[in-house]
Symmetry: C2
Subunit: 310 residues, 2 copies
């Protein structure tokens, strides 16, 4: 399979970890530009408390507006817009916008679950079950995030068996895809291969997405390790938008353009346009007010006479 799906999370995971909160209008323009780059899986907001996450405020109106533009043919219809819903309360808000795809967010670390989503892992799965029922009643797709799968800032190492068990449990709930997160960017390719091999056995490669942060530079190596085992879906963030709350000076999500550069050179197709992604990086740099960590955003594609391979 030479086709890879990129799930663009810059407008959610990226922006929610930036100091500066962008206006709803700028976030909509960002979505429009991402779609122009070829993004077709677009997580656009989160139905979380604006008190805790001001960067995601007005995700309801934003998503409703994007969906309205889509219905009017003024935003590409084949872009799947989705939103994060932390709980049934957020799901109610999501349903009101008419969005047809949502994501739930769990953790492989008990301590992180309690600190980040204020409940135990078991309690979070009870909430997911309610969300799943609401989704079914409204014919919505649900994606599952499993965070801290390679290490936790509070617990240290996270046992593989726990990650595999929770991935199975998410699959049993009926999510269409499970995004396995290296939330603090500690994973190495050997660890990735070990875990991914077990996850493929447990839930199948087609249900897996890998979500790497480039905090310690290993993200593309971890993408490669996953590719070699058959994973074909990756989360990434335009420009590497979004920092790491557990290492303030460090970078967060792997940059979409860096992933796409490597994939295209290796002969994979993503449907994304790398030159447009680089232009969008420069646009976002001006909007967010600081340079983005993407390597490609600074270097550009090679200036050689022969073009980069597709």
């Amino acid at each position: 399979m030479k086709r890879v799906t990129i799930v663009e999370v810059g407008a959610r995971d990226g922006l929610q970890n930036e100091q500066k909160a962008l206006s709803t209008g700028t976030r909509l323009e960002f979505a429009r530009r991402l779609a122009e780059c070829g993004v077709r899986q677009l997580e656009l907001g989160a139905f979380v408390s604006p008190q805790w996450v001001p960067q995601m405020a007005d995700s309801g109106p934003l998503i409703a507006e994007a969906l309205a533009l889509q219905a009017a043919g003024r935003f590409p219809r084949d872009v799947e817009i989705s939103a994060l819903v932390p709980n049934p309360r957020g799901m109610e808000d999501a349903i009101r916008t008419g969005v047809s795809s949502v994501a739930v967010f769990g953790s492989a670390s008990e301590s992180f679950s309690r600190r980040n989503i204020n409940c135990s892992v078991d309690e979070s799965f009870e909430r997911f079950a309610v969300v799943m029922r609401m989704a079914k009643a409204n014919k919505m797709k649900v994606r599952g995030y499993l965070s801290m799968c390679f290490g936790c800032p509070f617990e240290g190492e996270v046992p593989e068996t726990r990650v595999v068990k929770l991935a199975k449990r998410m699959a049993a709930l009926g999510v269409y895809e499970i995004s396995i997160g290296d939330t603090i960017g500690v994973a190495d390719p050997k660890q990735v291969k070990n875990l991914v091999a077990k996850l493929i056995k447990a839930v199948g490669a087609r249900k897996l997405a890998m979500h790497f942060h480039d905090t310690r530079g290993t993200a593309l190596a971890n993408v490669l390790a996953s590719l070699e085992l058959g994973v074909r879906t990756f989360d990434s963030s335009l420009g590497g938008l979004g920092g790491c709350p557990y290492a303030p000076a460090a970078t967060g999500n792997v940059a979409t353009e860096d992933v796409v550069y490597m994939l295209h050179r290796m002969g994979f197709r993503t449907g994304l346009d790398i030159e447009k992604l680089i232009s969008l990086n420069h646009w976002m740099t001006a909007e967010i007010g600081h340079e983005l960590p993407s390597r490609l955003g600074r270097a550009g594609t090679p200036k050689a006479k022969a073009p980069a391979k597709r």
Copy 2:
């Protein structure tokens, strides 16, 4: 084989591509601190014209001083100090310092050879042959660099067959190791595997070192691809010191601490101390006057309770 050799090139390839030229005293202190981090393969200078490369001026006195300290037991004796020699004239200077290990620098691209070292590839090999004879007469080891092996800023793609032919030619000259360079940081892991497989057939894995630049973020993925085929020697630069002259805003050599982080986590031994490398990154940041591109230098090792695996 779980042992990987790191050839630290920050004091040469790194510093020669920095705008600011450090004093000879600071360069010596850098060498001393690198040795304290566990570096045992240390390229310390280049016998090039100070008119063209002022950053490498006084490489002679610097290396002579380091060797004198080593003889006096005030610098670790098991550190192999080496220097780049572009031609027989530079080799004469190297011999005068008493250094026992040197490196010659060639290119897989005809255009780059003419522009960078002012001669054709064939002429450069004639010079290498003279240097090899001088080395033999003085019982010195010679390493060979082959640059632009994955792409050239003037020629675009560089044929694999040309790289393999030149690597064989270097091996036939008697170099103990050939460092295969992605000088402008364009390579992807598939390309790396294709070329490395052919190079291993041609000269053997033990004679190969891979020299990646992280200009487009793919360096660690390329290290991984090389590791998987059996390469066990990598060049890197503390902090990712040194930019890319062909993309001014971009980064150059892959950072030593980033490579070492990934290798240690994967269970390889390097003999380097990662916390000391990070401290040295911070020291060099102050000396050179700007932040270094290494990811690990900003993020640090994971703050989890359990330590990173060795």
